[in-house]
């Protein structure tokens, strides 16, 4: 199996992650930490993120089922979630987290619920896209240098 077409496809996929705003500069920072000793570092971090954040998502869901909303608690959960999302460069997810927190601060329950639905969508979309990307990356084999988006 030829690597070059795969690598080309990988590069296209990667570029679209940036172009569509799913990931930001922090993702590049993580890529730059990959080396021969840790060729799947980014995938490991992302896997860890989805594992850990599942718990927070559940906590928020449960908190949104209790009326009246405990905005302080909701904000605290989202602060945690936003932090991890930011650490992996999850741009859209992070933006939605910020919005959610603003709704918490202004005590806007409807806004929180809407924003949370949107957040879960972005979160799921990112997971699918990154999943496909990492799968292809494994097949394509190790890349020597990380290329920055233009």
């Amino acid at each position: 199996m030829e690597r070059n077409p795969m690598r080309r496809q990988l590069a296209i996929m990667r570029q679209s992650l940036f172009d569509q705003g799913h990931v930001d500069e922090q993702f590049v920072q993580l890529e730059e930490l990959q080396d021969d000793a840790n060729p799947n570092f980014v995938e490991e971090v992302v896997t860890l993120y989805y594992r850990d954040s599942a718990r927070i998502i559940l906590n928020i869901e449960q908190a949104l089922e209790r009326k009246p909303f405990d905005f302080r608690k909701l904000d605290a959960y989202m602060h945690q979630f936003k932090g991890s999302s930011s650490s992996i460069g999850a741009k859209k997810v992070k933006a939605e987290s910020t919005l959610f927190r603003e709704y918490c601060k202004s005590g806007n329950g409807e806004g929180c619920m809407r924003s949370f639905q949107q957040l879960k969508k972005e979160y799921a979309t990112l997971r699918k896209k990154l999943g496909a990307y990492f799968q292809l990356a494994r097949q394509a084999g190790p890349v020597e240098t990380a290329s920055r988006p233009k």
Binding site: L33, V45, L48, K82, S87
Partner: protein, 209 residues
Amino acid sequence: MEVAGEVLASEFQLHVLAVDDSHVDRKVIEKLLKISSCKVTTVESGARALQFLGLDEEKGSLGFNGLKVNLIMTDYSMPGMTGYELLKKIKRSSAFREIPVVIMSSENILTRIDSCLEEGAEEFLVKPVKLSDVKRVMNDCIMRGETEGNNRRRVDKRKFEDDNHASSSSSSSSSIPSSPSSPLPSSPSTAATSSPLHSLKRAKLRDHN
């Protein structure tokens, strides 16, 4: 700067204790530090950090933990003990106050930055922390002479800084008094625990805003 790093790597490594309740962030900071040629220990809370250092309040005496810690990097927002509270405990301990402490926070709040610097934090890094941030912190550590048994250069650097900055009344000895100094008229109040680099760093952080 690169040369200093290379020299350091071949002779000894900085041992960094990284404290963060986020598993993801611990993994990332560990990698950033390892890539910067440091020995790393990560813990998930301030309490664990104190235990590791041997400042366990329950035990009451210093425990033996093997490797000396040259630098502590801690997240600010953590459940239980915050990074700020951890910073205070370290700076108020006679055994560990010399260890530089760097605070990491996702929130770029000026009053927060100021309080941390005033309590003696070396730097305040805004998350997500980048490799360039870590490298800068490492270089500052090296410049300060925070390597095994080398405190002379730090004293000299402080003297030099004193000549150039109208900062607090720091003495030339290496021990840092923990009582607050009186506020200076021209600059914001600086505790005696802060190094003369703080006023410069604070200016840098403000510019960054």
